[in-house]
Subunit: 204 residues, 2 copies
């Protein structure tokens, strides 16, 4: 099979479809908003850092510029419709938390940006760097705290993220995460380790 | 359900498991390598840009520092084992292309970094910015060309990436991309548009 060469485009895939929580103090009081970002990724392990790219026309851009903080909320099947809605409508026009029936919750370590109570995991981030790249401004946020829904931790304290039913975004389409195919290091694992770990991963 | 607050970690999910192709001219001649990166994301639409974060201890780091270019190759089920292997073994010790039975192919617009012929999509990138963040150095690459396997284009010239069988990485686990749940804008689409587009997405 051979390649067809095309005009460059943003075809990295799959990517997250994350709900970005933001907030700022305005003359009218505290305002908070939600926006969906697929242009987000992990950029550093230690300290843990994440990038989120936002168009300057977005309301979330204004709020992040003012407050220097945001939350990244992972999305599951229950948040599918909200994830789409918060990507196409503006918080200048309506309160997207109310419209989507979502609940604001305090993100540990932040002052103004709320987390989404219905999300399986939130990452609370403080902006460390800002780069204007073109259509988007990229913010690098250091993760200052992280909240995980209690049913996603097992008795030993391990995170069982495979139980969350996360969704992925791939070239304009939201997909369920499908079956577990392997784990980091499986290609060099002993056969009995492979068997034991795959069995555990498939127990949901 | 309530959140348990944990020490911050890199829990953004799902993320890509991309094969990064690199190359440089050494005294011994042209050397080329492959490494797997999950710390990668789209950071700008126009110009199209991608971030890839690499630990300075990796061989790929040396090659990207020298050449200023890399490829990002998407991974499907057929590349699962190679994606894992290229994440755990070093190209200083062996030729990972040969070991994984993969074929180097020229990436349009680059001089030294090869694409992977077995990948459904490659993105050819030139480094525009470099930020040392801590454990990782983040490279922002501008996508200068893109190759897509010919069976992933339909007769009208549209990209049908849902046929690729891509894999995702989620907290140490490789997953298949599962069923299509919606498309960008579905939450505000007319019912007949929703029906027609979902039907098309589910035809693989």
């Amino acid at each position: 099979m051979s390649f067809i060469t095309l005009k460059p485009g943003t075809l990295l895939s799959p990517v997250p479809a994350a709900l970005i929580g933001s907030g700022a103090e305005e003359e009218s009081g505290l305002v908070q908003n939600l926006m969906t970002a697929a242009w987000t990724g992990t950029v550093c392990s230690d300290p843990p850092m994440i990038s989120v790219s936002i168009r300057p026309s977005r309301y979330t851009y204004e709020l992040v510029e003012k407050s220097g903080e945001f939350t990244v909320n992972l999305t599951d099947r229950g948040l599918l419709k909200a994830a789409d809605y918060c990507g196409v409508r503006s918080g200048r026009e309506e309160d997207k938390f109310a419209r989507c029936g979502l609940t604001k919750v305090r993100a540990e370590g932040l002052r103004l940006a709320p987390a989404v109570a219905e999300s399986p995991v939130y990452l609370a981030c403080r902006v460390q760097k800002r780069l204007a790249l073109g259509s988007h401004v990229m913010y690098i946020g250091e993760i200052v705290s992280m909240g995980i829904r209690e049913d996603l931790m097992d008795k030993s304290g391990a995170i069982r993220l495979e139980k969350a039913g996360l969704i992925a975004y791939s070239h304009g389409v939201y997909n369920a995460l499908g079956e577990a195919l392997g784990f980091f290091g499986f290609s060099v694992a002993a056969p009995e380790v492979f068997k034991r770990r795959m069995k555990k991963l498939r127990e949901k």
